[in-house]
Subunit: 159 residues, 3 copies
């Protein structure tokens, strides 16, 4: 057992891999926060998607009126879906990139830019900030991921 | 070749990693089942999203009426999206957690609780069970993921 | 440092792992293209989801009319969500499958079929091609993922 464990922990001892683990966890936890923000707006705006969620407001018509969409809830949900669309590629491509043995400085640059861009994107979406704040922060995270994808394909290409 | 393969299979021989592989595969296959359930409800409720999907029902107005939303279809789709929002963080954070070399018992506890919570969540959503069944099962899976994220950041933090 | 780096690059030197890295990156970049196609249709069809996105069209009613859904935009968004639902399982199960030490030929077959099926699915969705083109391409990618999941569970099962 301990021999195998030592082998495994070699991966997590590598600085580039540790940086990936840190930033991947940060953006995933940030994405998870979107669920809490959605729940917060659903409860304060009284806007639910399922009949069983409104049962505590009584029966029949009095509860049915809370089965509705709300602009604030929908905004958070769009931000959450945009996270999924962008953080899933980072998760996969970033992991493969970390395994191509990049320079620590370059790797940190990619991970920090991506995480910073996604956090900015969330604020730009939720406040909301005037465009092109949201568009630009989205594009910066996108470009960081494409740059890592290029490195992965250049290093590992095997079709 | 065989030397490299041996190195690779060391990862899959590690018990914590095997447990991660097992539970990650189980929750991903469970999520994939949502596609089949959506298809089942789309066909039995005759509720489609694309004109080309209703072509077999004839042309013009007779087919157009099947381009509609259906409460059962939308329910499964919400469950599917909730899976994506929660299983993606588990996939990434769980993998990194498995690589931090946790105690086998603790790791199994996290993986089993997460998988059990997500399976319960699916039943709670699709039957549906009265609240707070769905809310609680969601929260239990969420907490298991956050607990693993904490361990990853404590072990690997490199900003 | 260099010793650890050497260990890490052993993973990316493995041919099966390189094949996984290549095809995972290809399907993730393909999925990322859906964001650009959505943006293209939102701009050309003038159909936006957020008030701040229409500010450049003026204020009040003149801008508000561009806050609307458009059939082409919604079609791309459904394709994008279908990608997420299918590429996330491939990302996780494919990685674990690559670590079970499969035969290179068999692994390449799985990865190529999956990537080919998803690229076909995108064309079938966006053109759109008459059914069952989209349904079949979806099913082929689904079957390739289930086949890899079976191999992972057969090799690594640890409940």
């Amino acid at each position: 057992r301990s021999g195998k464990m030592a082998k495994l922990t070699q991966l997590i001892d590598n600085e580039v891999f540790r940086a990936y683990a840190t930033y991947a966890t940060i953006v995933l936890v940030k994405m998870m926060l979107m669920s809490l923000i959605t729940a917060y707006f659903r409860i304060t705006r009284k806007a639910f998607a399922n009949p069983e969620d409104t049962a505590s407001f009584g029966k029949g018509e009095s509860a049915k009126k809370y089965l509705r969409t709300d602009a604030d809830v929908e905004r958070v949900r769009r931000g959450h879906l945009n996270d999924l669309e962008n953080i899933v590629p980072f998760l996969g491509i970033g992991l493969l990139y970390a395994l191509t043995g990049p320079d620590l400085y370059t790797a940190l640059l990619h991970f920090r830019i991506f995480a910073g861009a996604r956090i900015t994107h969330t604020f730009a979406y939720l406040i909301p900030l005037p465009q092109p704040s949201r568009g630009l922060s989205w594009a910066v995270g996108y470009a960081a991921t494409i740059s890592m994808a290029y490195k992965v394909l250049k290093t590992a290409l095997y079709l």
